[in-house]
Amino acid sequence: MIVPARFYAQGEAEGTALVLARELSFWGGLDATTGRIIDRSHPDLGETLTGKILVMPGGRGSSSSSSVLAEAIRLGTAPLGIVLARADPIITVGALVAASLYGRLCPVIVCPIDGVATGDRLRIAAGEAGEAHVECFGPVPER
């Protein structure tokens, strides 16, 4: 399945989806040194974002989330890419600044996320003029 999307921070990524039940505020919610979710009120507390494609409805909470995301990208603990149902400027700017300071890309794209499940293989590809798409390959078959 290929879903058209709009990209907010450039880059390409392929990996396993981690779909969060609720929005996560990176500030107060993500430990940038470990990539783990530390918001104790979040249903996905304890999950690790590192190496995954993070999928969630949108952003939430503090404007300090940009720094936490950028620091996680610098440290290599950030998700490979972020797929949101609703655009979030705070997440966008965190990814843009990490790209500008360190040349490390964490694509942020917006598209409908219904039908994507944790464990699905996703590929994010940025096209031209803000267009992008997400390919969802469904669950990775068990061996």
Partner: protein
Amino acid sequence: MTLALTTADQAMLAGETDAAAALAMRILAAFSEAVGAASLIDISGAHIDGCLYHGQVSLDFVERFVQRGGRVRVPTTLNVGSLDLIHPEIMRMDAAAQAPARRLMRAHEELGCQPSFTCAPYQTLFRPAFGEQIAWGESNAIVFANSVIGARTNRYGDFIDLCCAVTGRAPAWGLHLDENRLGQVLFRLSGFPSSLAPSDTLYVGVGLMIGERAGERVPVIEGLPPPRDEDQLKSLGAAAASTGAVALFHAVGITPEAPTLGEAFGGRKPQESIEIRPHDIARALARLSRVPDGAPIDAVCLGTPHFSRGEWDRLLSLLRGSGQSGKVPIYVNTGRATLAALQEDDVLGDAAGFELIPVADTCTYVTAILAKLEGAVMTNSGKWAHYAPGNIGVEVAFGDMADCVASAIAGRVVRNMP
């Protein structure tokens, strides 16, 4: 949609003014393009949330502006840092950890920012006027400026707020524009007594609920009693911006863009109507407390957002009126300007018998200040209660200011709040 830059914007982007502005304009233009803004607008002020040290990236970013000789182009205040520069002795952080945090605060001053170091710039310095276009960071400051004052800002995060300050520009998008400031979802208080008192906890509870249920939509609250003071609206906004992404709320008959329900919605129908009933408030508040009544506490933490003078006066009056002493310290975060005025008036002596610890320039839930972290902490702040367990690993009990004072006296959680 493609961003149209003016000739002056383009000159800045091309580095014709200075290298720092060129860097800021490059990031600002990419961000503006990403959010779908058609153009940029002038701003009259900025509030920067970049002084809290989140790691090397915080310093790398601002140093890049300092190296390029950057200066802010509009009056700019600074949010809290990671250190109390006024009371360095209370920091529980080694010198190596303090150095980059101190440098980060200082580097922002070198860019021409005011060393306000407060999350409540609206109650001291550079309070914007109704309708002013500004670029503010810090979620409680954003929601207060938009909702209570009627100034206009989006939720600007770290980095982009500095880019706006250095260029004096912001994207023409979101809450800067009339059409996006109208209410979208109605929250109606229902089932409360007709003589509903404006208790502090009611405002926190309503804030928690609209944050959880409004999403990114603009909430309109109907049936809220007139607040005792702005501090109640401050606590409502801070709670809403903790549990949700609320950047603007309207309270009918209370906030400036909502004289009537019809005006709050601009004549349109609410997309959704949600009732707030007394048990909803009780449930939202109960979720903030992670320890039962009677549990021992190690500290009381107040002042998130930073205590106003009005809040200090209420606290000092409660402490003085108790005629008792405290078993645990009471930490109070406040702006350095507010603290200076308190010291000028020599009123902190009213807290004799209590270990009252004023904290300036920072906040007890973002850095290492509390002497003990293993026990529970009592707070009157929905925001502190929401974030502290994740940030500094403490257990929390929530109550109003009088409960917090009673708990400090007892050394355990005491609650009488309505």
